[in-house]
């Protein structure tokens, strides 16, 4: 590894923005809010990440990808630090990344639930979710659980297509 000038935080973030979520490869771990910070501490680069879900099986791979992406550009050593607070929320996913999700066929998340009245069945506010294929608002929730922890399954009653939505937490 050749020695380099101290990289700026912006340079490092731009590099990390090339690391995609292994399960949703159109958005980066920076856009998802999994990367919380990156800093140069001594001669080490420390990347702070937070897991999306307690049992997310992609976290190990994300860590490895982060180290690989930085080392490929000559930045080493790299340390990945995991923090749990503040807990990850889909509210951190910005408008550009939401549009990328939609174009990929995954409906973006609504606002994360805040009050606890959604815990009582029948008293819940039902949000309108548009179909990522035909843009119809005429869709229904099939299951809060999908192919990965972060997605739910919906069905579009207009174009008769099942689709996934990034679930709001």
């Amino acid at each position: 590894m050749t020695a380099r000038a101290r990289p700026t935080r912006e340079e490092l973030l731009a590099l990390l923005d090339t690391v995609k979520d292994p399960e949703v490869p159109v958005v980066s771990v920076v856009e998802l809010g999994v990367v919380r910070d990156v800093a140069v501490e001594g001669d080490e680069i420390v990347v702070t990440i937070t897991p999306t879900y307690s049992g997310c099986p992609a976290m190990r791979e994300i860590e490895d990808e982060i180290v690989r992406a930085l080392q490929a550009e000559g930045h080493a050593p790299v340390r990945v630090r995991t923090v749990f607070a503040p807990a990850w929320t889909t509210d951190w996913i910005g408008p550009a990344a939401r549009e990328k999700l939609r174009a990929y066929g995954i409906a973006p998340p609504g606002m994360a639930p805040s009050a606890d009245d959604d815990l009582v069945p029948l008293r819940r506010r039902r949000e309108t979710v548009r179909c990522p294929y035909c843009d119809s608002p005429d869709t229904t929730l099939r299951s809060e659980f999908g192919s990965t922890a972060c997605k739910s399954i919906r069905f579009c009653d207009a174009c008769r297509q099942p689709f996934e939505q990034f679930k709001a937490i």
Binding site: S54, P57, F84, D116, V120, P121, F145
Partner: protein, 255 residues
């Protein structure tokens, strides 16, 4: 940093709550490939993954607070039945779908209250894990509460099975709120919540769901306890045999 006098109590607390999640996660994972519908199969496996992930975090923290070189895998796979500290509720066989969902409701309703309070722990690492898990507990509860209403207020068959499940499981619920001297010492230090005030709130919530589900809450009867001290039903040993066999047959293996 943790007061040395509190350290063993905190390890015990983390084992208790980590074991609840490890054992419940295993019971839910038993449904994988056996769910009543594809969506449910996926839902139960998703919940199992959340609980196993939470167990991984809590047992990992237990090992590091303990400081004796045991990591989460050592704690999950190389302790015997009497060393497990989970409540008996979570170790009971998965039964039919009605038993699984009534048990989930009893646990999830507790878990939302427990984790909500645990997020305010003065011990930062624990508060962080709780804040993460709290978000998961909320959609777990939405899922189980909806199913209990559907099953209870469903067909004659589903109602009868859900009622039978509730009659069987109800006495295992209150153990979730048991505390001992160690817990009280931790609670005084602001590290863990006092569980006593949560029990009436839990009862109110689950009773509301059972009322909507047209299910009758049993009265009287004995109150199961002992899991927190390592006293278990006959079922835990069988579960551990299955869960631990690979790790014990091939110690040190990695993949």
């Amino acid at each position: 940093m943790i007061d040395e006098a509190l350290r063993p109590h905190l390890v015990e607390f983390l084992l208790r709550h980590g074991d609840d999640r490890l054992v419940l996660g295993h019971r839910l994972a038993e449904w994988c490939g056996h769910g009543p519908a594809l969506e449910e199969d996926i839902a139960l496996a998703n919940c199992a993954l959340d609980f196993t992930g939470q167990a991984n975090l809590m047992l990992g923290l237990a090992g590091s607070v303990e400081g004796k070189g045991r990591d989460q895998d050592a704690l999950a796979y190389f302790r015997d039945e009497r060393e497990f500290r989970n409540v008996q509720l979570v170790e009971l066989p998965r039964g039919d779908f009605g038993v699984t969902m009534v048990r989930q409701l009893l646990f999830d309703a507790y878990d939302v209250l427990f984790l909500e309070a645990l997020q305010r722990s003065a011990y930062e690492d624990l508060a962080g894990i709780a804040a993460k898990a709290y978000k998961e507990a909320r959609y777990h509860l939405r899922h189980s509460a909806e199913w209990v209403v559907m099953l209870g207020d469903g067909t004659g068959e589903s109602h009868e099975r859900a009622q039978r499940a509730l009659d069987e499981l109800w006495r295992y619920g209150p153990e979730l709120f048991d505390m001992d001297e160690g817990d009280r010492a931790l609670a005084s230090a602001g590290i863990v919540p006092d569980l006593a005030p949560l029990e009436p709130r839990w009862r109110e919530r689950v009773e509301e769901v059972f009322a909507r589900a047209t299910l009758a809450v049993p009265t009287g009867g004995f109150r199961a306890k002992g899991g927190r001290r390592g006293v278990h039903t006959e079922h835990l040993g069988h579960l551990l045999a299955e869960m631990q066999i690979v790790a014990r047959s091939h110690p040190g293996a990695s993949w």
